[in-house]
Symmetry: C2
Subunit: 256 residues, 2 copies
Amino acid sequence: MATGRTHRPATRSRGIPEATVARLPLYLRALTALSERSVPTVSSEELASAAGVNSAKLRKDFSYLGSYGTRGVGYDVEYLVYQISRELGLTQDWPVVIVGIGNLGAALANYGGFASRGFRIAALIDADPAMAGKPVAGIPVQHTDDLEKIITENGVSIGVIATPAGAAQQVCDRLVAAGVTSILNFAPTVLTVPDGVDVRKVDLSIELQILAFHEQRKAGEEGGTEAPVVAPAVHGSPAAVDRKGPDGDVPAVMPA
Amino acid sequence: MATGRTHRPATRSRGIPEATVARLPLYLRALTALSERSVPTVSSEELASAAGVNSAKLRKDFSYLGSYGTRGVGYDVEYLVYQISRELGLTQDWPVVIVGIGNLGAALANYGGFASRGFRIAALIDADPAMAGKPVAGIPVQHTDDLEKIITENGVSIGVIATPAGAAQQVCDRLVAAGVTSILNFAPTVLTVPDGVDVRKVDLSIELQILAFHEQRKAGEEGGTEAPVVAPAVHGSPAAVDRKGPDGDVPAVMPA
DNA sequence: GATTGTGAAGGTATTCACAGCA
DNA sequence: TGCTGTGAATACCTTCACAATC
């Protein structure tokens, strides 16, 4: 779900599998909570359950980082927090810009977990001149015109796009041209970027649609009641032949 | 990344692999765009590139749904839109409640892609009495006290949690008790739910941390120009064989 | 000739289950 | 005895490559 372009085998980066990397933040969060409660050590079983994964997976994940546990005892909380933080690159802090300070951008700017976890908002950028200078989350919004300058002067390599879909690709291009190499995209668009740039996408409607899929299945399962499927009568289209799907009548397509 | 609890093999649901389900919304979005431009048919190659995946994968994905294409020609756009919508359960519309109307909740409420894609905001709910009655995105906010009533009366089965982390589990429990079986969680917490309830999680700081991981790697690769990595004198990670024990300088742990 | 649909091959990820160590 | 670390087994996903079909 990341990767700059279709190529790049999404292969494990430096020996650590992508799937493992995606779980490290989860472990880190659970560990941080334990650390705050001054818990000195934790077993794979306990930690796994706090992170919502199973313990074998967790141990395998940690084994990619090294042997940081003690047999018969468990893991030293502080030590693990440090090792994972380092592995994730959180021992330095990353200046981040957020582009598009609408409802969502403002929500992101106000999100507390930001500063506390290795990231620092270097700037908020919006295309609306009326926003310029207005403080959001205590940070004055700057105009898109200065985007390149802001990126360069602050050494920003991570950008967050929270603009409308229509503007996202253009903003992305400018960010990349200015030197950003990692992008978190909240706009509902597929971004095209050159090799070497990572894009991750967060998309509300995709998540909801996935839930709807499972929800529908649940409804259909029990009692077999439901009969939601309307079944199209093969339209001017294909596979009249051996095609499976029910037939009935078609579209009435989606809105937009 | 979903699934109710550790168990449930995350197995394919009704023959359609989870990975495929997660891509259907992507295809649907690309198809909808084509549909709006009145494009009648599309090849796997074209559609795949619009959706940002490779064409073999797309064809394989579609093959799980049925044989909806025409060899030598491609796919009928309208027909596919309909089939995918149906598969995702978007031919009905799902009432959704959003709990926690802070910055993020408001942003979600204002998110346009909502109504247009098979979902309808049935209610906005917040624990702050001062919010009650105040309209957000044209919908009056209701108080948490009425949560159960709202869920039941509207037949809501999908809930969105946008509360602070501390309140999330409790809200989740109430939603589930009231009949919600799918939850989209924006709070940075692991939710525990009974079997049969799906949870999906959207987490800004996790995404950023994953980006930071890759970003760090990039910096390390090239000529080392960047030189950002502070590199604790500590030993390398893996191959250090029997690596072990905190010695020398360790932690300097994360804030929170 | 073009493009789909799909077996088969190749990877990646998860889980099992137990040897090894504190 | 208790718990980690990890090979081996399994499950899942992606990609290849080509026969089937329009």
